[in-house]
Assembly symmetry: C2
DNA sequence: TTGAAAGCGATACCAT
DNA sequence: ATGGTATCGCTTTCAA
């Protein structure tokens, strides 16, 4: 079966491929009549232009790459939804790459995206990432990149985050006001974003004259079982906290599991507030007090910024951080003890 | 800045592009010495082959397309994770397309994927899909496709599902054994998969001599607010059910919300079991009895089957359905009333 | 307004 | 073992 490509179309129409190409892209230098004929034939033969030929020629892929640590996380899902909504409007394709929080994997992906497969990148860096040379390389190649949530401060490009410091402060303050004296901090990333949340935590403690206790700072891993053990150990000890501010949802879920298993009552024995985009947070037992990020909007914002660079020639993304506001949603997991 | 491509590499090395190309792909007809030199230079210059040029020439994209109704659903997320795990091993890229349960959108996507952008497709059809001509076209073009979960019976290709009929039967039977006399069925798809779950529901009722009541069959939409209203109306009526078997997670979540709002106690006033891959099902209030599908394995299985077709020449996917087993996980939402 | 031809970058066939 | 060259399908000068 003969392939339906430009050449074939042109032959059927008795035109040159260049004419057909222009007609299909609605060029003004082609007569309306010819356009009609070409369109009709293209439709009839079910012609679909080969994207790779086009990309090769134009040196543009109409594709954006999204690099994220994991996908089993409602935050990233919502971000992807936001990205997809805009990308779809612009007829761009979305390639998703997962680092699984693995620095080597991230390096590999970034390295390979320098080959022109994507026109731009949206990225949330892995929690393992400390060295950023691979990201510098991208900059050098002129591949536009926009960071979101887990940003890379040292790379001069656009970043989209939420007011992490502020939320860290608010969450901690909330726990204190609900009566907590020993507030723990859970996270697992070494990223700037977490250090901001942590900075808010530290400042809130300071403000209320509560000394920071290192054993209450828990750094988890990507392994839920490990986290469960870590948390269980802490909550079973004599020096267990009476409040937890979790910077990551996974740790909060593990905490719920631990409490159920060792018989700690939330919120009477221990209160908890967590960064989370869990849809069913209100349905948990007890309902979970959260810091909820505008994830969908973060995705939209990040991709919109990226498109500025994709659509304008010689436009370099500003080294600027765009901050969207998260919200503290108070629920039962931080209710005052009776 | 001169681009680092084969030509440039060849020039630097004083070799022909064909030689360099072969050396890079470790062809046996190239001397070890030359290979070493080429590899070294490629590494030094940070050479990345242009995927579009390669795809154009080889008429292979090393990319698979995943078409799903939505991504904000733990089932599909896990499936994607399974797909990605295998795709990564094989060095394939994954393009994700969302239909948002919209038939026209699905048609559009499928139509456009006939252009060679992907080598194969994994798909769960939209709940709106009734006409399958667009899928037939794919078959005609020789683009291999594997359906999973929401399969399309009439297309002769490989399908991966779970034992839906059986689970529908088990779930319903479970409710009956827990004392329910009026069991409702919630879903929103017109797909075969749902009709199987529903068939199990119907047969279980029949087996236990319970007449099927049409007003207890609720077909939701993609709109959560609408579903909420629908469910609220049913549960507020005199003829409300005392048990619900939900074929879709979303409807179960809406049901929880409704019950909380109108003051119905689960499981005393009403029991519920739902198809769901919600990670926090055990943490809900009350914990949710679920039919849990092996989503990750479904993804792995589907993509593995697809790879058979991608890796073998002239291999046509069998018109066969591969069935993985789901599990009924009993929790508190179906506990016997005191 | 249309056509001819060059070229994007990699690959594979045919030489040598 | 290596080199020359046509080719994948499309876009874009340049010519007519």
């Amino acid at each position: 079966m003969e392939p339906v490509n430009l050449k074939y179309l042109a032959k059927e129409l008795g035109l040159a491929t260049s004419t057909v190409s222009r007609a299909l892209r609605n060029s003004h230098e082609i007569s309306d009549e010819t356009k009609q004929r070409v369109m009709a034939m293209a439709k009839k033969l079910n012609y679909e232009p080969n994207p790779y030929a086009s990309s090769l020629r134009k040196q543009k892929s109409k594709t954006i790459g999204v690099i994220i640590p994991e996908i089993a996380n409602n935050f990233f899902i919502l971000v992807i939804n936001g990205i997809e909504a805009i990308a779809r409007e612009k007829n761009y394709h979305v390639l998703i790459y997962l680092t699984h929080e693995d620095y080597e994997r991230e390096k590999y992906i970034v390295q390979h995206l320098q080959n022109g497969r994507v026109d731009g990148i949206l990225m949330s860096v892995s929690s393992e990432t400390v060295n950023v040379d691979h990201l510098m390389d991208l900059q050098d190649k002129g591949l536009p990149i926009v960071f979101f949530d887990r940003v890379c401060e040292s790379i001069p490009t656009a970043k989209v985050t939420t007011d992490d410091y502020n939320c860290g402060y608010l969450a901690t303050e909330h726990l204190i006001k609900q009566g907590c004296k020993n507030v723990a901090y859970f996270s697992f990333s070494r990223q700037s974003i977490n250090s901001k949340r942590m900075a808010g935590y530290e400042d809130a403690l300071k403000k209320y004259g509560i000394p920071l206790k290192p054993h209450l700072i828990v750094s988890g891993t990507t392994n839920d079982t490990e986290n469960y053990k870590l948390i269980k150990k802490l909550l079973s000890s004599k020096q267990r906290p009476d409040g937890i501010f979790s910077a990551v949802e996974k740790m909060a879920v593990s905490t719920y599991n631990v409490c159920a298993d060792i018989g700690l009552n939330i919120p009477n024995d221990i209160k908890i507030v967590s960064f989370s985009n869990l849809e069913v947070a209100p349905l948990l037992h007890p309902s979970l007090t959260t810091i909820t990020q505008p994830a969908f909007d973060i995705g939209k914002e990040a991709v919109s910024i990226l498109f500025k660079s994709l659509e304008k020639k010689n436009y370099t993304l500003p080294d600027e951080t765009f901050i969207l506001k998260s919200a503290l949603v108070v629920r039962d997991s931080t209710k005052k003890s009776a």
